[in-house]
Symmetry: C2
Subunit: 308 residues, 2 copies
């Protein structure tokens, strides 16, 4: 089993969907990634920052999931990063209502000593220079560095983003962002251009349409589980990344074939995430529920054609 | 092996895409369905109508593909159905520039005597009362009736459409049309509502995002092959339907498990169709090319997770 270091926001979210709205609840990329990765019993630690307003109970929750929280800095006099958004009726688009960086504005990530040799590094969506700073602290060359990012950094920190992208093995990015980053509409061409920027593996997330994994001329397509209803898409991408990273950390096998399985695990966990508001579903998800849904994924995608 | 009867337009198309434009070329639902089904060496016949302006060479082409064309009525003094469209840059939407029904306006389909007991009936996109009239002519209960339709008939002949939908086993429909027909955004819920209208099997085509097959509580998801570029999407849906119907006619097995394979064959053939203008790619497609791409589909979708 490998060690997994997770870098990302730990935050408050306030979410509005056609099904209702929440007050400030637990959110953040590192939170979702950690909750998903916890299903693989890996040795994991989160690196983040919160304010004095962040409830002890939330940190306890991560600890009960075996996430080492010693790398989550608590700035007593500061406030926790806050995001608020409202989803449209189709759940595929949303408006950001508020973004308060608070303690995140001056975040200097510090990787705990025990995790500076982590074999798997999961860089959640954050300023690319923060992501770079984490890589700078690693004392050994990691087996696998995975990076998630978003269009916001392409708009306002493209140079920094391109710098960190050069240093990673896997990028996870959504379809529109892949198009923005490369100026290519075809995702096949976009993936090839992103390969040329550095990552050997490119995962393009397509929301309800699933996810594509590209590696040289190989491609794998994991559909999303068709759901009766998506209750709240918040965190689905991070949950996908957490499942992906957690499975690879557990198995220690970073071959393309095994990465296919990691994509399936990521999709499976993400399919739960969207069933309730925020992290609610992920907090109480049992391993037997995950296994049952993996079987559903098999039935959803596997076929037996005899080529005659 | 089963007999396959194909009903649909045989037409002239004029197509404009970002890659170029064509004069009047061979088109029509029955044409694409027939070319796709021809890969399964089934005993197939087309029922349609054309005008005196329709080149003999096009009928010869279908005959060389083992499609019985005796059910294609030639109205000497009439003109062939003509459609013209222009695709937008994203290839997912198009404008219809011209629709000239011509001989199609008074089309009374006549099923050839030899095919009135066909085990598989493929009702291509046409006025639903024409589709019904074909079913009325069948002397034996068919093993499988497949129907393709479009939003146009929901707008202007909904009652007739609902009547024919009651009589069929499988409907193929695209995602937006499924939503329009049911008033439901979730495709899972939409499929359930369409089940209730009659068809035991519902295939929802999602273009570049693949296709879903629903049957009671079972669901199968076949992705579309990720392509560097889609040259011309015209006929992709009909090609999908033709591959689906042809494979089921060949195997004679209409179980859900085998229908999964039929969806994969449909998707595979459709992935070729879009590579060139109109029917060009389908006219010269070899079986070995199809087999090679089926292997690609396996690599694209199959994975080996050991559930621990």
């Amino acid at each position: 089993m490998s060690k997994l270091i997770i870098v990302g926001t730990v935050a408050f979210d306030a979410i509005e969907t056609p099904f209702g709205k929440t007050d400030k609840i637990l959110g953040g990329a590192a939170t979702y990634i950690g909750l998903a990765a916890s299903h693989f019993n890996v040795d994991a630690a989160a690196v983040s920052v919160v304010g004095g307003d962040f409830p002890e109970a939330y940190l306890d929750l991560l600890e009960t999931k075996n996430i080492d929280v010693s790398g989550i800095e608590i700035v007593k006099e500061g406030k926790t990063f806050f995001w608020s958004g409202k989803y449209h009726n189709d759940m595929n688009s949303r408006d950001t209502l508020a973004t308060e960086l608070n303690t995140l504005a001056d975040f200097n990530p510090v990787v705990p000593e025990d995790y500076k040799d982590a074999e798997v590094v999961m860089l959640g969506n954050l300023h690319p220079s923060v992501q770079s700073s984490v890589l700078d602290q690693m004392t050994e060359k990691s087996k696998l560095v995975i990076l998630d990012t978003m269009n916001f950094w392409m708009d306002c920190a493209l140079d920094d983003l391109l710098k960190v992208i050069k240093r990673i093995d896997v990028i996870t990015i959504n379809d529109e962002e892949a198009r923005q980053l490369t100026g290519e509409y075809s995702l096949v061409v976009a993936a090839r251009k992103i390969h040329e920027m550095g990552p050997k593996y490119v995962v393009i997330k397509k929301g309800e349409h699933g996810a594509l994994l590209f590696h040289n001329h190989h491609v794998f397509y994991a559909p999303a589980l068709p759901l009766e209803e998506v209750f709240d898409p918040t965190g689905a991408g991070d949950t996908f990344a957490g499942g992906f990273a957690g499975y690879l950390a557990k198995t220690g096998d970073v071959s393309f074939e095994n990465m296919k399985n990691a994509v399936i695990y990521g999709s499976t966990l993400a399919s739960f995430c969207v069933e309730k508001f925020g992290t609610e579903r992920m907090q109480n998800l049992s391993n037997s529920e995950v296994h049952k849904r993996l079987l559903q994924f098999k039935q959803l995608t596997q076929f037996e054609i005899e080529l005659t």
